[in-house]
């Protein structure tokens, strides 16, 4: 079905090219948005194509994030890259270091004279994709953050007030009561590294690595084996041992455990809201992430996850005007409001956020503004504006591996985090050497 649709889109684009006197230039857009999200992507492209005659954006679903990134790299090596490719946040440093393979978004906009004001964007969202000089390198497309969900029914069943605990200390106390009341799965999480290392660090305003979490240079080293990190992971490992925390897996497996009503508390992406609503099995609330209240400066603000759009180099010069027009179209408040309210991903501009709020959408859909609120809780610091580590695809898996060792009791938290830091640093050095 999808392939047919793509074929039809390609054919349609071809016909337009042949038919119109002024041939429209095709802009290839590779993305990883499957299912309902893919339909939204298609709708955006169609709307843009209908809004002008000179360019036709052709969205192509290229598979999951790692697959489409690999495909884009292979296409670049074969000298036939797409114009725009959607790359997940862990690939950011790799894309950024590939000077000559990509064109910074700021440059694309400037060269084509398209209206572009970097200040219009949410700083915690664009900060992730902006260099230290303030040049936006890629355009954030779908961004979410880590949030904390509770199952109100499970709380009531255990005789608890259905209010989310604010701190980890409170969470643990609640967890013990839930367990005592017979709750089999008390707390679980999706995306263990993203939630419990990356967002955890930003939320507590402590560094993940030196050089502003790697944004200041390739010679960064990891620091997430601090006493605070060790304490947090040890707490989770202890909770796992006591049966208060169930490890669900490396990606989004926790979502289903919460949406299905199996687990009473859950940390995961803001984009899990859609699935929980669709399953409709639990009475839930979405809240800020818990924090350790004895840490000064906590809670700070959380960081994003998701993906951004990169413009690839090596295309005819004229094409980039079309790319710039399309990126401008994507940043319009109307486009953003539609994307935000339709998917749960955060809007990338302040204007879109204000417009959504003014429309009363958040009153009718509680929880949809939680991500933006948490991302913008305070002005981001060097520890909380994002991270930029080379080879992070591998490093995130190293972190997950070591967390698994801690959660299964094979290693204590200190040893696991020390090993993760050491292995991570080795991988960083390799990236540094390869990108000298």
């Amino acid at each position: 079905m999808k392939r047919k649709a793509i074929a039809a889109a390609l054919l349609g684009a071809g016909l337009i090219t042949l038919g119109s006197a002024q041939a429209a230039t095709e802009i290839q857009w590779w993305h990883s948005m499957g299912g309902a999200l893919g339909e939204r992507v298609k709708a955006i492209a169609e709307k843009f194509n209908a809004s002008q005659k000179d360019y036709t954006v052709v969205p192509v679903y290229k598979g999951s994030y790692p697959v489409s990134m690999t495909a884009a790299i292979a296409a670049f090596r074969a000298k036939n890259p797409p114009h725009i490719v959607q790359v997940y946040e862990v690939g950011t440093a790799t894309m950024m270091a590939a000077k000559g393979a990509i064109v910074p978004v700021a440059k694309v906009m400037k060269d084509s004279g398209e209206k572009f004001d970097p200040k219009a964007y949410l700083p915690t969202v664009t900060g992730y994709y902006t260099d230290l000089k303030g040049n936006m390198l890629s355009l954030p497309f779908n961004s979410s953050t880590a949030l904390f969900y509770i199952n109100k029914d499970a709380f009531k069943k255990a005789g608890l007030e259905p209010v989310a605990p604010k701190t980890w200390k409170e969470l643990r106390a609640v967890a013990e009561k839930l367990k005592a009341a017979g709750q089999a799965c008390v707390y679980t999480t999706s995306w263990p590294s993203w939630v419990h290392v990356e967002n955890f660090s930003a939320w507590h305003n402590v560094p993940i690595g030196t050089k502003q979490n790697g944004m200041g240079g390739f010679d960064t080293v990891f620091e997430f084996n601090s006493p605070l990190h060790v304490r947090h992971i040890q707490m989770l490992a202890d909770m796992a041992k006591q049966g208060l925390f169930v490890y669900a897996g490396r990606t989004s497996q926790g979502d289903a455990k919460f949406a299905g009503g199996e687990c009473a508390m859950f940390t995961g992406s803001a984009s899990a809201i859609g699935g929980i609503k669709k399953a409709g099995k639990v009475d839930w609330s979405v809240n800020f992430l818990p924090y350790h209240d004895d840490v000064k400066g906590a809670p700070q603000n959380s960081i994003i996850g998701g993906a951004s759009l990169w413009v690839m180099a090596g295309k005819p010069k004229g094409d980039y005007t079309g790319v710039a027009k399309f990126l401008g179209f994507l940043s319009l408040p109307e486009t953003q409001v539609e994307w935000h309210t339709g998917t749960g991903y955060v809007p990338i501009t302040l204007a879109a956020y204000e417009q959504t709020r003014a429309s009363g959408f958040y009153d009718k859909n509680p929880g949809f503004d939680m991500a933006v609120k948490q991302l913008t809780l305070h002005n981001p610091t060097a520890n909380s504006k994002g991270l930029r580590f080379g080879n992070f695809v591998q490093i995130r898996d190293i972190i997950k591996e070591e967390l698994e060792a801690a959660f299964s009791g094979k290693k204590d938290a200190k040893a696991a985090l020390d090993d993760a830091v050491k292995r991570g640093n080795d991988t960083l050095r390799k990236f540094q050497a390869a990108n000298k």
Partner: protein, 293 residues
């Protein structure tokens, strides 16, 4: 009694084998040479910058305790996959060989799993054993077994072994069945007349006569466990938890394809190439001598 065809022409024999040689060179030797060459390079993912680093990729590999651990895991995994794969399929073949009524149906059903791609086999088994929604998990929970392979390494290993073996049983079964059917009935009947029971007949006559087949399958199954199983692993555990199912070939695939580290991945595949060459030489020099053709 040797029959030999002698080509009079100087070039004709070469022309006749040329297509085969061309295919081997293009699809086997050329990639192998490239892997060796890349294993000496350090390159960024896009191929924009390339440096010659000598043996540095290999040094890094052997300084990584997780890579060394992955050898042990691979050894365990291949012994389990090849061993249980051969034993189970021999058992099935021996039983299918004795069945008279509906033999064709049994055989067809037993051969069926071979048509399933390893990645799909992995997904199927992962679904059945999924920690919270799997049907087998549900049954195990009822029996009081805490089944959660996303955190328990031994259970994860068991899962990938089951999926990998299930996929390979049909292949082994086919060869064993053919082997069994080529054993002359008169031999077995003679033994039966001499008073040998079914177990004795199987141990003293059938098994030795099957040894060429078993040897062949041993080689094939080891190669299968070493190379063809990364689809199963990628679809289920992705090497986890905590590296418990990180076999060598999966790491090659992961580092090269997913992480874009061509140098490191090539170095690993060169190491893997040497292991398999060594294993095959050992198998042919030492084990094959004990095979009776």
């Amino acid at each position: 009694m040797e029959k030999r065809v002698v080509f009079r022409s100087a070039w004709l024999p070469y022309l006749l084998v040329a297509p085969q040689i061309a295919i081997t060179v293009v699809f086997f030797f050329w990639p192998a040479v490239q892997a060796v060459w890349y294993s000496f390079l350090l390159q960024d993912a896009f191929g924009l910058k390339t440096q010659f680093v000598g043996l540095q990729n290999f040094v890094a590999l052997f300084n990584d305790p997780h890579y060394l651990q992955s050898f042990k895991i691979t050894a365990l995994f291949s012994v389990l996959v090849a061993g249980s794969g051969i034993v189970i399929s021999l058992l099935l073949a021996a039983m299918a060989d004795r069945v008279i009524r509906g033999a064709l149906a049994y055989k067809t059903l037993l051969i069926w799993p071979y048509a399933v791609a390893p990645a799909i086999a992995g997904v199927l088994w992962a679904f059945m054993f999924a920690p919270s929604i799997g049907i087998v998990t549900y049954a195990l929970k009822k029996m009081g077994v805490d089944w959660n392979w996303v955190v328990n390494g031994d259970q994860a290993m068991l899962l990938v072994v089951i999926a990998a073996v299930w996929n390979q049983i049909s292949y082994n079964f086919l060869f064993f069945l053919a082997g069994l059917q080529s054993i002359p009935k008169s031999l077995i009947e003679a033994a039966a007349i001499d008073g040998a029971g079914p177990v004795r007949r199987f141990g003293s006559i059938v098994l030795p006569l099957l040894s060429p087949t078993t040897f062949f399958l041993l080689v094939i199954n080891i190669v299968y466990a070493f190379f063809a199983t990364f689809g199963v692993i990628d679809a289920t555990t992705q090497g986890g938890p905590a590296g418990a199912t990180q076999i060598l070939v999966y790491k090659v695939f992961y580092d090269g394809v997913k992480a874009g580290d061509l140098g490191g991945s090539s170095a690993q595949s060169v190491v893997l190439m040497f292991i398999v060459i060594t294993l095959t030489v050992i198998q042919f020099r030492f084990i094959e001598r004990r095979v009776q053709y």
